[in-house]
């Protein structure tokens, strides 16, 4: 028998008027007002969304992640309106897929990142007149890890955060730009006046250092 884990079957309808505590998300707060929460606290909130349709938990997730997703998408060159729509879509996906989120497998930040990344890919493909009929391989990247990888993934976020802090600044910058620049290699090459091939070997070097800091010493 195949047991299929359903996302939250019937999302409860939100009340028409938002309760007072949700004003926190409907107003623009200056940077830094969101509480720094541990990875486990975010996991508990996603659980609360999945199990109870907890709107307060969802509001906290929204307040923290939606503006950062919008920022990420704009830095990758999407127009503000599109970035706004996709950031909202990311949060709709977060609610709908909350029940299938596996905290042993990925941190909430990792999960949100992959949702936003995949929505951006789909958007670019639609724009290129290549409609995507369904979730393709990109959406499957995070499924079906074996037990070893799960143990690895569970500690991943904290370790990766530390490793990024330990990287040489220029290497951290290369990695950051690989995620946040539209044309990272070409632009780095132009700015530093070095050949594209050299940029690519710097990227590989940065990833290898990151891996070593994470205990992966394979070539």
């Amino acid at each position: 028998m195949t047991v299929v884990r359903q996302p939250l079957a019937e999302p409860r309808a939100p009340r028409r008027a938002l309760p007072a505590y949700l004003s926190i998300v409907s107003k623009n707060h200056p940077e830094g007002t969101s509480l720094p929460l541990s990875p486990d606290a975010w996991v508990a909130m996603v659980r609360a969304v999945a199990d109870e349709g907890d709107r307060q938990a969802f509001a906290a997730l929204f307040k923290h992640f939606a503006p950062r997703v919008k920022s990420y998408l704009m830095r990758l060159g999407l127009a503000e309106g599109v970035a706004e729509d996709l950031a909202q879509e990311t949060m709709v996906n977060l609610w709908r897929k909350a029940a299938s989120f596996d905290p042993a497998h990925a941190a909430v930040s990792t999960w949100v990142f992959t949702i936003a990344r995949n929505l951006r890919i789909d958007h670019l493909r639609r724009k290129g007149n290549q409609p995507s009929e369904h979730d393709d391989g990109h959406g499957l990247l995070m499924e079906d890890a074996g037990p070893d990888e799960r143990a690895y993934a569970a500690q991943c976020e904290i370790q990766v955060r530390r490793a990024l802090e330990l990287l040489a600044p220029e290497q951290a910058q290369v990695l950051r730009r690989s995620f946040f620049d539209e044309q990272p290699h070409a632009r780095i090459a132009e700015e530093l006046g070095i050949p594209l091939g050299t940029v690519k070997s710097r990227v590989r070097l940065a990833v290898r250092h990151l891996r070593r800091l994470l205990g992966d010493h394979a070539p």
């Binding site: 299929v4 949060m91 990792t110 493909r125």
Partner: protein, 234 residues
């Protein structure tokens, strides 16, 4: 299964960052599903993406953004987004199953599992190119269909070089070949640019099945001509 040929770090980084073209992205994600080492590396890089996302400066949303999201959540999922995340129910779905047209899976060697990373993909039936050589066209996902295909080559036969210039990507799904330098078996990944000229030969008694991708858009009539041409030494 020992996997000895992996995507380079920059390929995995591009995959994690969402900037790899659809064809190579499909191959690299199939590899990462098969290879525990690359799967862990990919997840670490995705975790880096998450950490960097969290450290990016927030960009305020519209004042009504939260209300709009809650409205959409209350509405039925018109695009079927929730359903799309579920694994396809490919096995034993109906008694009147299958056949390639129905399953999207061409005839596969006895006892060999269908690669997990290809669950969401549909292929056409095997088509004859030349003696001992068949190919199957990727039908879906459509964004990768233009430049990804399966090649099935018989024992002792040579794999053709299917591009002139550009990068050609290969993920071995079944069987083995030797390219004159190294042996490639199930799970192995190869990205060769057009400057490398080797003549891979299928080893052992099994067919060798590879998922292949080429950079850019590929015209399939051109592909067939080149595949056949490479066999007769053109």
């Amino acid at each position: 299964m020992t996997i000895s040929h992996h995507p380079r770090d920059d390929v995995l980084l591009d995959l994690a960052a969402g900037r790899l073209a659809a064809g190579p992205a499909l191959l690299a994600s199939v590899h990462a599903r098969t290879c525990p080492q690359c799967g862990a590396r990919l997840r670490a890089l995705e975790a880096a993406g998450g950490v960097l996302l969290e450290s990016s400066p927030p960009q305020p949303l519209r004042a009504d953004a939260f209300a709009r999201v809650m409205e959409r959540i209350a509405a039925p999922a018109v695009h079927g987004a929730a359903q799309a995340a579920l694994p396809p129910l490919a096995v034993g779905r109906s008694p009147a199953d299958p056949g390639t047209a129905e399953t999207g899976r061409p005839d596969w060697p006895e006892g060999a599992p269908w690669p997990a990373g290809l669950d969401g993909c549909r292929f056409g039936p095997w088509k004859w190119i030349a003696p001992g050589m068949r190919w199957s066209r990727l039908l879906a996902p459509p964004e990768a269909a233009a430049n990804v295909f399966l090649l099935r080559i018989g024992p002792g036969r040579s794999l053709p070089s299917h591009t002139h210039g550009g990068v050609e990507w290969t993920q071995v799904l079944h069987g083995r070949f030797h390219d004159g330098h190294a042996l490639f078996g199930p799970g192995d990944f190869d990205a060769a640019d057009g400057s490398i000229h080797h003549q891979p030969v299928v080893q052992g008694t099994d067919d060798c099945i590879c998922l292949a991708a080429v950079d850019g858009r590929l015209r399939f009539d051109g592909l067939l001509a080149r595949l056949a041409g490479s066999l007769v030494g053109l």
